[in-house]
């Protein structure tokens, strides 16, 4: 990394902010939240820039009802749960999957949906349930897993699906208008899939600048510079500072896979309730992969652990430090809410990297 280049970008951001009292920017995605802290970029910005973590940590936006359903499935003797690592420590009503595992439940951490398919093929005597959560970055992998399972005739693989879509939740937040925002730092990896055009309404209809950036420090600084300049000049456009990876229309193959297996549906978001067209449900011809239907399990109501502000944090309504549990009864060792569990969670990032919180 060229330290001189980051230094020049920081100087340009300071210059662009000279006449701005306050700029409230939301980084939609948890990967940006963590990268901004871990790289130290956050510490280089002028005070007038407030970075707000948005609803883009896959584990954090998953409703408690889903966690409880996953735990219920894990308790079945014939079921093995395959899950991304972040999910195993989220506390539910009857403890976390980590606790269930200690009690004998079969829970396997996988790095991709493909690993779950492999596990199912190697263990034909087990009913394998993949916890399919995440945004557009992971959805094509789930769809690919299901298409491949169907092609191979794998009958023991299911998905407890709660995939979510980034742009509808951004629009829902803007419609609600409860959190004042001046612009969005949009996630590079999600945008590889959905393309720049996906943010057109956010910039046009809602008048909020959107800049798509990758996760390298200099690229994140370029994104922030683009946003600050748009705010200063009163523009609201979709700008792409990550053109080497992100195109106008996104990845058509990924879209085709996802469209084959899933259809857009309402989805329950933690603390935000049901948001129309913000999730994905199985198309009728793929329902046999739907764990909810196959095991007759219901995702119960969403609720917040007592005193936990995760629901507010993911909407940018509260900083982690405003939660009375933060760094006291809720720490990475003993997390109360998902934002402290996930490596992408805002609370975990504040706790791990922010000097002021120590």
């Amino acid at each position: 990394m060229d330290a001189g280049r980051t230094q020049r970008l920081v100087e340009k951001i300071h210059t662009a902010c000279e006449h701005l009292e306050s700029v409230r920017l939301m980084e939609v995605c948890g990967t940006h939240t963590v990268s901004l802290f871990r790289s130290g970029v956050k510490s280089l910005l002028p005070e007038c820039i407030k970075l707000i973590s948005g609803p883009g940590c896959p584990v954090c936006v998953t409703s408690q009802g889903y966690i409880d359903a996953a735990c219920e499935l894990a308790q079945r003797d014939d079921v093995t749960i395959c899950t991304y690592g972040d999910m195993v420590r989220v506390p539910g009503r009857s403890g976390s999957l980590e606790l269930q595992r200690a009690g004998g439940a079969k829970i396997v951490v996988v790095y991709s949906a493909r690993d779950a398919l492999k596990f199912a093929r190697e263990h034909p005597d087990r009913k394998v349930v993949f916890l399919a959560i995440g945004f557009e970055t992971t959805t094509p992998a789930t769809a690919g897993m299901i298409l491949e399972a169907r092609r191979l005739g794998v009958g023991n693989l299911f998905a407890l699906a709660a995939h979510k879509l980034v742009v509808p939740v951004m629009e829902a937040m803007l419609s609600a208008g409860e959190v004042p925002l001046d612009g969005f730092l949009c996630p590079g990896h999600v945008s590889v899939i959905i393309g720049c055009d996906a943010y057109r309404d956010v910039a046009g209809k809602y008048g909020k600048p959107c800049v798509i950036a990758g996760f390298e420090p200099a690229n994140m600084l370029e994104g922030i510079l683009g946003l600050v300049r748009q705010v200063a000049e009163g523009r609201s456009e979709v700008e792409n500072v990550y053109p080497q990876a992100v195109s106008t229309r996104g990845n058509p193959v990924a879209a085709q896979w996802v469209g084959q297996v899933f259809e857009t549906s309402p989805a329950i978001w933690r603390a935000m309730g049901e948001i129309p067209s913000s999730g994905l449900d199985f198309r009728p011809e793929y329902r046999r992969f739907d764990a909810l239907e196959q095991f007759d399990v219901k995702t119960g109501p969403d609720y917040e652990p007592a005193g936990c502000l995760c629901g507010q944090v993911i909407q940018g309504k509260a900083d982690p430090s405003q939660c009375t549990l933060f760094a006291k009864s809720c720490t990475p060792v003993q997390p109360v809410g998902p934002c402290m569990v996930s490596s992408e969670g805002a609370c975990a990032a504040w706790y791990k990297y922010n000097r002021a919180q120590s």
């Binding site: 584990v59 991304y84 972040d86 951490v109 790095y111 970055t137 420090p217 200099a218 060792v333 992408e344």
Partner: protein, 341 residues
């Protein structure tokens, strides 16, 4: 494959029965590779002549999946880990014990390869396996092979690295690229396909420590950053000394492949395990001399001064990032979990 061949090529319960099969296992697969004058009498305990002075005693249990990983295996790990625990106390290892719990069904060729690497690691560290034991457990009850090693070491006169001696301004050095062991094992375990490019750093550090101690530097503290990574040791140091630590990301050795893989998995390389790394705290004036001594040793070619001890309050570990920003470094929670996207 016939039943006889299976018996010939795999560990069976009879190998642990204490009878002829046990004797054949030991004489055919274990003892020839480890032969030395302390072990050869096969007495119930090894008898050592020890000069007057301070002795170090340590023990460690080793379990890793897979038991053979890129750059090493559980045997090399079990020797190096215990040697390193002695070395960072400033001790010269003089004897190791080796207890192996073998799982029924373990391929004897795997065992042979692991015995070879135990022997070669012990030779590298110039330490004999003085005594040992083997047990066999039923299939699916033993994780293939688990090993416990204990080690005895002698501490030389005037050598006393200890956290209490660390003071403001002291320099912090590390002997080479971090995070390689944890990432290599993770890559092998999960089939991430990086196995040919990323090898575990597992190595015995006693020789490197000896060179450093003999260089005349005032060595105040030594530690091998294993589980918990560099972050864990730095956090221990800040907590134990009630002083702050400032480290510079750009100076911390990290190969491009390790950096990219950690990024891919969403892991902070500072928190990933090492098995052949030495963190040394030396007096500020001795930093250059210590660096030169480390770089003279094969295990210290990429050594670097990565930071220093400061009196900033409250006592924290602070990282000056490559981008020129700052953030704190904390001890990781038990198991670092790769991110979802």
């Amino acid at each position: 494959m016939t039943g006889k061949q299976v018996t010939d090529e795999r560990i069976i319960l009879a190998h642990g029965g204490g009878g002829e099969s046990t004797r054949q296992l030991l004489s055919g697969h274990v003892l020839p590779k480890l032969a030395n004058e302390l072990l050869n009498p096969l007495t119930d305990s090894a008898v050592l002549d020890v000069p007057a002075g301070r002795i170090c005693l340590t023990t460690d249990a080793y379990t890793v999946q897979p038991i053979v990983f890129p750059g090493g295996d559980i045997g090399r790990l079990a020797v190096c880990g215990t040697v390193n625990d002695l070395a960072v106390m400033g001790a010269r290892p003089i004897a190791l014990s080796l207890a192996m719990v073998l799982e029924e069904g373990l391929d004897l060729r795997t065992l042979d390869a692991i015995m070879d690497s135990i022997a070669s690691a012990a030779k590298e560290a110039s330490v004999p396996i003085a005594t040992g034991d083997t047990k066999v457990v039923e299939h699916a009850r033993g994780d293939g092979l688990t090993i416990t090693t204990s080690g005895l070491g002698l501490i030389g006169d005037g050598v006393s690295p200890a956290m209490g001696r660390v003071g403001e301004g002291d320099a912090i050095l590390v002997n080479g690229g971090i995070a390689e062991h944890g990432l290599a094992v993770m890559s092998a375990r999960e089939g991430l396909g990086m196995e040919t490019q990323l090898l575990s750093d597992v190595a015995p550090l006693a020789g490197l420590v000896a060179v450093l101690l003999e260089s005349g530097c005032d060595v105040k503290f030594l530690r091998d950053p294993t589980r918990g990574g560099l972050a864990g040791v730095l956090a221990d140091l800040a907590e134990g000394t009630s002083m702050s630590i400032e480290v510079r990301e750009a100076d911390i050795p990290l190969t491009p492949i390790a950096r990219h893989m950690a990024e891919l998995l969403g892991l902070d390389p500072l928190t990933v395990a090492n098995e052949g790394k030495l963190l040394a705290v030396v007096a500020a004036d001795d930093a250059d001399k210590a660096l030169a001594a480390m770089r003279d040793h094969p295990l210290g070619r990429s050594a670097a001064v990565i930071g220093s001890v400061t009196d900033a309050s409250p006592p924290l570990v602070e990282l000056v990032t490559r981008a020129g920003g700052r953030r704190i470094v904390q001890r990781p929670y038990g198991e670092e979990l790769p991110r979802i996207c």
